[in-house]
């Protein structure tokens, strides 16, 4: 199913599959910006337009901010992990924390934003317990995927 290996991308060329790119960081608010920068850079390379890149920037920031707040609240020293992959026409960003069920309660605004900006959002269990994995996906432009 995977498209045949093409020439590596040029700006404007059809991007080849990208990633995975993995970032692991201490659950501190100051690292969320770093995670945003990584995600923004990869989504731009994957061929998303400016509006969607801004969407990735914000939604990934929300997912990582949520992971940091859950980790702080649970008092876990586990690192937060973000994995990004762009392949088969889809950009997938997965953010995993080590916190358990006792995470933060007021996540509604963050969820609203992620749902409003990503094509799909799902929250499932992480290694520490329920709610520890946030998965965001965006469809890549058709001309970039073919």
């Amino acid at each position: 199913m995977a498209p045949p290996l093409q020439h590596p991308t040029g700006p404007g060329g059809a991007p080849a599959p990208l990633g995975p790119v993995v970032l692991r960081f201490t659950a501190l608010p100051e690292h969320v910006r770093t995670a945003r920068l990584v995600a923004t850079s990869l989504s731009r390379r994957a061929g998303l337009d400016t509006t969607d890149v801004e969407g990735v920037r914000l939604a990934v920031g929300e997912a990582c901010g949520r992971a940091v707040q859950r980790s702080e609240s649970a008092g876990t020293a586990e690192l937060v992990q973000m994995v990004l992959t762009a392949a088969e026409g889809v950009l997938v960003v997965e953010v995993v924390d080590g916190a358990g069920d006792d995470g933060v309660e007021s996540e509604e605004v963050a969820m609203l934003l992620m749902e409003g900006l990503a094509d799909e959002v799902s929250v499932s269990a992480g290694p520490g317990g329920p709610g520890g994995t946030t998965r965001l996906t965006w469809g890549l432009p058709a001309d970039a995927a073919s």
């Binding site: 608010p29 100051e30 969320v32 910006r33 945003r36 509006t51 801004e54 920037r57 914000l58 920031g61 929300e62 901010g65 940091v68 707040q69 605004v109 963050a110 609203l112 934003l113 409003g116 900006l117």
Partner: protein, 118 residues
């Protein structure tokens, strides 16, 4: 720190100019500044967001907190914002119904002055 906050008086209102990124890391700084202003008796705020490059849910929380705080003193909080990417954040979360949002500081000051002479 990737956030700047400065304030000045204009037309009897306090204009708070915010620049940079308001996120989970920097939002506490903005919260503190808004709290300080309200504590000094400045209850009519105009927050100028034109130089804000990024706003997340934590930042929204701080603005909502500021609004509640000034309202408890019969004050007001108006926003200035024309950037589509920032407006989108307010729209998705339904907060365009909560905050009066203006295109210029002058408009915001005029609207704020019009609704309640201080």
């Amino acid at each position: 720190m990737d956030l700047s906050v400065t304030s000045r008086e204009q037309g009897g209102r306090t204009v708070v100019e915010v620049g940079g990124e308001i996120d989970v890391y920097t939002a506490p700084v903005l919260r503190e500044r808004l709290n300080d202003l309200v504590g000094e008796g400045r209850h009519h705020l105009v927050v100028d967001m034109e130089k804000v490059d990024f706003l997340d849910s934590t930042g929204l929380g701080v603005l909502v907190g500021g609004l509640k705080r000034v309202r408890s003193h019969d004050g007001s909080l108006h926003l200035v914002c024309t950037q589509e990417k920032i407006l989108k954040v307010f729209r998705i979360t339904g907060l365009t119904k909560v905050f009066p949002i203006h295109s210029t500081v002058d408009d915001a000051v005029a609207a704020s002055s019009g609704e309640s002479a201080s």
